[in-house]
Symmetry: C2
Subunit: 225 residues, 2 copies
């Protein structure tokens, strides 16, 4: 058997990516969802998705899909799972790999999002999604939650500089439960890679809240071996 034949006796499939795009606003997690104005499943809600193209890495396809929708590159993205049931897409057989992305919700390109008929929807209010996208969301949420307990990925949902009150609200949203303020700040104080910038945010309090930033070098120094 030639090497060519080795491959060619096997079928090929469409490969897609679907992206669970998380944002954080007003104390709640949101997802960027599309109300589809195109077939198939026109009119229904879905994740941002797209097909993998010739010569394109799987990860890159996911980055492209998110960039085309939000204008944002360089996001924190992680692969969640690949869904390969024969009948999962009623149109044709498609293997789809889900990725989650974390977005600073202040930064996305509003024009692009509008043009795609996409909307930020707060988590508790998300509608039924097409195909198996509901399952993708719950798998992504579980995985993101787990990662957030292990490393400070949540920071990617906040602006460069943030207050501890914002950070706490974020973790409360991610974990879905209230956190004691003093215990939280005690824990953060031990993380030398979350450092004061010296700046002060006065938008929320008369007193003003110290601004912090994530220091990637210190973090990598502590945990990469």
């Amino acid at each position: 058997m030639t090497q060519q034949a080795f491959y060619s006796v096997h079928p090929k499939f469409h490969a897609a990516v679907d992206c669970i795009i998380f944002g954080f606003e007003e104390g709640e997690l949101s997802l960027l969802l599309l109300q589809r104005n195109f077939e198939p499943a026109k009119g229904r809600w879905s994740l941002a998705g797209g097909f993998v193209e010739e010569g394109e890495d799987l990860d890159d396809a996911a980055r492209r899909v998110v960039a085309e929708l939000t204008g944002l590159d360089d996001l924190y993205m992680r692969q969640v799972h690949t869904y390969g049931e024969v009948e999962r897409d009623p149109g044709e057989r498609v293997l789809s790999t889900a990725y989650y992305a974390l977005v600073d919700i202040k930064k996305y390109d509003r024009e692009l999002v509008r043009a795609h008929n996409a909307f930020w929807v707060k988590l508790p209010a998300i509608p039924r999604l097409i195909f198996d996208h509901d399952r993708m969301v719950s798998d992504a949420l579980r995985f993101m939650r787990y990662q957030a307990t292990v490393k400070p990925v949540g920071i990617n949902l906040l602006p460069e500089e943030f207050t501890l009150t914002q950070l706490q609200a974020l973790y409360e949203a991610i974990l879905g439960e209230p956190i004691d303020k003093r215990n939280f700040r005690k824990r953060i104080a031990q993380m030398d890679y979350i450092e004061k910038t010296g700046g002060i945010d006065k938008t929320l309090s008369r007193k003003g809240a110290a601004l912090y930033r994530f220091n990637r070098e210190k973090y990598d120094g502590n945990f990469k071996i």
Copy 2:
């Protein structure tokens, strides 16, 4: 644009599964690896893999690949990750999804394994593997280790009935560090889903060691909501 055209403008790809098959013997984790007597990469070591076929779920393809090699069905298997770099398979473009499987190493079909030119290799001694299979192994190992700290998946590597000494040796192999015997037994004692069978194993000690089994009903009762 018709629905047909929606799909057909996009390329298709080969979809493969590669399986990291773990066993446990003599206090060490092993992998079932193939020394390939077929192209491509004939003569080199690889994971057990195969292509997804028409009308076959992705998970089922992974089960089939493991079953064809070991004769074992009904194994504990979990998807690890999908590898989609353009150049990862030097032959043709293939998207490959890795799964790990946990095998009771006493039970596999020796004829089948021999026929496939496959061998159990203890973890510290595994050779260089083809393509990106090394990376698959290390990702699978990390994932399996994590899962083992969270739920008793390791039990799938032991026979139905096992002694606490075996169980401890297993966890020491999975975690890669020694465990205090009394603390370990204290922890196990709290898990009512690991129960004495009443049987006694005399193969290792004159005194005899109590045999235990995993009670799936009790476990599911405790943790499924």
